[in-house]
């Protein structure tokens, strides 16, 4: 059932309710994506204003999460969705939580940016942070595109890219640990960067979760807790 045809119900109101749900989700995704860009920039450039903007946006993200939840509840109560409609509501409901968590992680990064800007030292690890930030933003962008296009292949790609992000995170961590061991005075300033890296890695995990929901939405397969290879294998069996 690759084509979802959510605009082809006999009831126009049902069409527009599902369409609204999809739009609201993508809009929230757009807001969260901007938060990631701003958060990484605020750390890299010690930009307190941008960091504050990220923190302010968090309230907007929270409000959007609640609005989408309400929309899901309304659709379930009024329409008793089935099949692909049900999967759309379920996957949006779960993915919205992941988007909100991504927003939370971006806010954590922004708080680190403020902490870093308040100290005079230039901490180590900015280039790793910027690099990881770029990659994480890419996978979130890919995830939202995969959702908008119901693109299963792209969703699987997100899951495999998350593994790459995890490896890069481990490498950056090792480097920072070495740096801290060289001189314990580096510890406190490096810790902020470590927390920011950790937040980025978590964002990758959330993008991966959303991608699993996209596969469920389009194919009706529960592919959680699987590697990208196992997913491909399961998808090929269908």
């Amino acid at each position: 059932m690759d084509k979802l045809n959510i605009d082809r119900h006999i009831s126009q109101q049902y069409n527009s309710a599902l369409d609204d749900l999809k739009k609201e989700f993508l809009e929230m995704g757009g807001v969260v994506e901007k938060q990631i860009i701003d958060a990484v920039q605020s750390v890299a450039e010690a930009d307190v204003d941008t960091a504050q903007k990220v923190l302010t946006t968090e309230q907007d993200v929270d409000a959007r999460e609640m609005a989408i939840d309400d929309l899901c509840t309304q659709i379930i109560a009024r329409r008793q969705p089935t099949a692909s409609d049900l999967r759309l509501v379920m996957s949006v409901s779960k993915s919205t939580r992941d988007l909100e968590r991504i927003g939370d992680e971006a806010s954590k990064i922004a708080k680190m940016a403020i902490a870093i800007s308040e100290s005079d030292d230039v901490p180590h690890g900015f280039s790793e942070l910027r690099n990881l930030g770029r990659q994480v933003h890419d996978v979130v962008d890919m995830t939202l595109t995969a959702f908008a296009r119901y693109d299963v292949d792209l969703a699987v790609e997100v899951v495999s890219k998350d593994k790459v992000i995890d490896r890069e995170y481990d490498t950056a961590m090792r480097e920072l640990i070495t740096y801290m061991m060289e001189d314990p005075r580096n510890i406190s300033r490096s810790m902020n960067v470590i927390w920011a890296l950790r937040a980025l890695e978590r964002i990758g995990d959330h993008a991966s979760n959303i991608s699993e929901q996209i596969i469920y939405l389009v194919k009706g397969l529960d592919v959680r807790h699987q590697s990208a290879d196992e997913m491909v294998q399961q998808l090929n069996q269908e």
């Binding site: 059932m1 082809r8 119900h9 089935t82």
Partner: protein, 293 residues
């Protein structure tokens, strides 16, 4: 996804200039589609094979194959005129009463061919009982409504046996507590939901193996419907149930497997859980989600 579904229609046969008779249409349609999903089961109580049904020259059901498992609840859904009620009525030969109706195919109740010349429809309908859309109690007392079947089938010799059957049947139908003090009042005096449960008690009284239900809740309010649905769940411990319903939510709530009929063809049979979350056929998907077919 099976793409070889419904590729050939009666229209194609006309195009090939073959003589159009009920038989040729049936023959052509036998190859024309394949039911997707899981129409068969290991412990079948009833097995239907190559079922074709005609009203005069008009074919109502095309080459349907389906098993109904022991103690299983199978729901049949589909748009009006799709043949689901016609199919249900074949299962205890109710269509025998319609002169223009011709039924082809094999129907087995366990090992017995129900259309066998030696098969008497009276005991058949005791073994395969039916509950209709509108509650239809006899214009008799509540007691006599339930006792009628056991009496004519000679299931009770003594009054005390009959009393026991009546009480048990009313208990199983969840009606005993409500009517035990007025067993000799007319059954027609009960509310709609109670009347339908009385009809179910009447069906149960002759110890059927299979209960057919044709939209049993369509004339009932939500509370009475909930009671009947609860009853279906309880009855499925001991009986095999086939239910035709226009309410997809009802099919989703009460059945183990769901069969989707479309224009006389059995398009998909699958576990109910699968049909309502991820159906195999796009026609099933279109119907249950309320999209254009």
């Amino acid at each position: 996804m099976n793409t070889n579904v419904m590729t050939e229609t009666a229209g194609d046969i006309v195009a090939e200039n073959k003589p159009v008779t009920a038989d040729t249409i049936a023959e052509q349609n036998a190859d024309a589609y394949e039911t997707v999903g899981n129409a068969f089961c290991d412990q079948a109580k009833m097995s239907m094979r190559n079922v074709n049904v005609f009203y005069d020259e008009k074919q109502a059901i095309y080459d349907v194959n389906l098993d109904i498992g022991t103690n299983e609840v199978v729901a049949m859904i589909g748009p009006s005129g799709c043949g689901k009620s016609t199919f249900l009525r074949c299962l205890n030969r109710m269509n025998d009463t319609i002169d223009i109706c011709r039924v082809e195919g094999q129907f087995y109740l366990e090992d017995q061919d129900i259309n066998d010349k030696k098969m008497d429809v009276v005991p058949l309908r005791a073994r395969v009982g039916m509950v209709f859309q509108k509650p239809n109690p006899f214009p008799k007392s509540i007691y006599d409504n339930v006792a009628y079947g056991p009496r004519i089938h000679g299931l009770a010799d003594r009054r005390s046996d009959l009393d026991e059957i009546v009480e048990n049947s009313l208990q199983k139908a969840g009606l005993w507590a409500e009517v035990k003090d007025r067993l000799h009042q007319p059954g027609t005096g009960l509310s709609g939901g109670q009347q339908q449960r009385l009809c179910i008690a009447r069906t149960i009284a002759v110890s059927p193996e299979v209960i057919l239900m044709d939209e049993p809740c369509s004339a009932l309010d939500p509370i009475a419907t909930a009671k009947i649905e609860e009853l279906i769940d309880e009855l499925s411990q001991n009986y095999t149930i086939a239910i035709v319903t226009h309410s997809m939510q009802q099919a989703a709530r009460v059945s183990h497997r769901t069969a989707y009929f479309h224009l006389g063809k059995l398009i998909e049979v699958n576990e109910t859980e699968k049909v309502f979350t991820n159906p195999d056929h796009e026609l099933t998907e279109a119907y249950i989600t309320g999209r254009f077919g």
